[in-house]
Subunit: 338 residues, 2 copies
């Protein structure tokens, strides 16, 4: 274990394997379930599923879901399909996001749309949504099934909000930003927390606490991602740096910069210049300005606020659950390198 | 009522309003439900939903679902959300199909992708899938919810099969064709039949009969659609004639022509020529050959076979249900003008 400062506290850095230890067996079955999803009697589909499902990933969402199931009557037979369903839904949204963004790579891997084209990738995503719905239906829990459907509605709305607000300076407010990242990311983390607890028949207050925990951690997670998009390296990100702003998506570093200099700032100059030549130069200036240490620091303070909000919610949950692991996950998502 | 010959029988032409009379009230509530789906607190989404949901349509699938509910303990509180869910799922697949086909018009109306662009339309379809899932979850019937998810998987696979087989002469077999149109169309008709019956707690044999009725009528419906794509007018179709073949999709008229002339036929010449100049000329020749009366007649015989198979299945269902209306629907879908 290494110690890495975050804000004014020192927290132990653990590996995900350590955090996941209490649920390691069931998380392995989640992996098996996802491998089964990748099997199909239709070979072109199987090839596509294998490409997008074999990349692993941190499996944060299914881990949160399984851990939150530990606050009540944990039944692996329903918790595992739910956790697998949440991860599959997440992966399906990535497939459609990459179509929408015309992304060629994600986390260093070639995207489905780059390999198989947009039409096939739209259908691949649809198939994965359907399979995720089938997995969650296996739980037999109508409340969780409805939560799942609601979450997909919120996520699609969040992505749509991002799409329609591209290059719109008016979308550069904290309120709009929080709404967008709640939709595209935090809502599924919230569902992981609430869904696991609902499946275990926790009381309403526990469910609400774990939903709020998931939501807050999801907000922190996405803000970290958004900071990294400015401050990371292409190698770290597995995709070009500055992709969000380049696509006209205003995220926290850009918004902080805009709020600091409402009348004249390089973000607005980039947005205004988008239709003209010389846009690349404005982009470089905007990226440079948004990755100033003072801006990044303020963004990190926001991450800490969301993390703390998540931890407060967690502390309101009963002590019988795996609060220690969930605390460590909250630290983990806020400790990626800058 | 007019009389129109089909094959060697004469059947009365009725209007859909007459066929739908026994379920008119509940079908009106299905319409209201779809209108509510189009409402959203997010205005850009509301505009998109209104465009794709306000076009009406024949509502064949929800009508079949409601009618099949009449074979058992019909409860409007669950039959209506199921019927609305099926129609919404259908509309959502059209939105994604139009993205995939880069279609500008559908049934004479401008498509969502033509108005709002591909990225927003992918998300619009996702939102509609999610809302359809939410509607079916309201029924509380796990079996029907799983059937719904399975159907979306089959449909996505069918569309994918169509996409990957484009311009592939080897896909020009009856077996492949039936598999594709089962996936993209007949599976949802089958689900309308089986779903309505399951919701009404019909016995397994009745459910199977009504599934087979729906599936067969769906096959007939799609084959008629595919014949019209060759033989209709642009005005009738609301889109350019010959669109299927032009996109490399081999449908029944093309397949019959290929089977008649395995060694040399205009379809193969078009497929082979696709990468070269002069493709348009080959397309015209292929369209001309496939709309010969002898070809169309044999395609119509296939339609009749599927219709008869559907009617046979219907006759195996109990006499207490609205068999008369379902018989008339079977005639209706096979009687579109050629």
């Amino acid at each position: 274990m290494s110690i890495k400062p975050i804000g004014d506290t020192l927290v132990p850095m653990t590996t995900l394997d350590q955090l996941y230890a209490p649920i390691a067996d069931d998380l392995a079955i989640v992996e098996d379930t996802l491998s089964l999803v990748a099997q199909s009697d239709f070979l072109p589909l199987e090839a596509m599923l294998n490409q997008v499902l074999s990349r692993g990933g941190k499996r944060l969402r299914p881990a949160i879901s399984l851990l939150c199931g530990g606050f009540g009557d944990y039944d692996a037979d329903t918790q595992i399909p739910l956790a697998a369903s949440i991860e599959l839904l997440h992966t399906a949204t990535l497939v459609h996001d990459d179509v929408i963004d015309s992304a060629d790579t994600r986390r260093g891997h070639v995207t489905a749309n780059a390999t198989f084209g947009n039409p096939a990738s739209v259908m691949l995503g649809d198939y994965m949504f359907a399979h995720a719905a089938e997995l969650v239906a296996r739980t037999g829990h109508i409340g969780v099934i409805r939560l799942f459907a609601d979450t997909l509605m919120v996520m699609a709305k969040g992505e749509l909000a991002q799409d329609v607000s591209a290059f719109d300076a008016d979308s550069g407010t904290m309120r709009d930003y929080y709404r967008r990242i709640h939709g595209k990311t935090a809502s599924l983390f919230a569902t992981a927390g609430a869904g696991g607890a609902m499946m275990s028949a926790c009381d309403a207050q526990t469910i609400d606490s774990l939903r709020e925990y998931g939501r807050s951690i999801g907000m922190a997670f996405q803000i970290v991602d958004d900071i990294l998009d400015f401050c990371g390296t292409e190698e770290q990100l597995g995709k070009p740096v500055g992709g969000d702003l380049s696509a006209g998506t205003l995220t926290l570093p850009a918004i902080v910069l805009m709020e600091d200099n409402p009348d004249d700032n390089p973000i607005n100059r980039f947005l205004d210049a988008r239709e003209e030549n010389g846009r690349g130069e404005f982009l470089d200036q905007a990226l440079e300005a948004a990755r100033q240490p003072s801006i990044v620091e303020r963004c990190m303070e926001t991450v800490e606020q969301w993390r703390n909000r998540g931890l407060d919610a967690l502390h309101a949950a009963p002590t019988n659950g795996p609060r220690e692991q969930l605390t460590a996950i909250a630290e983990f998502v806020t400790q990626r390198d800058f």
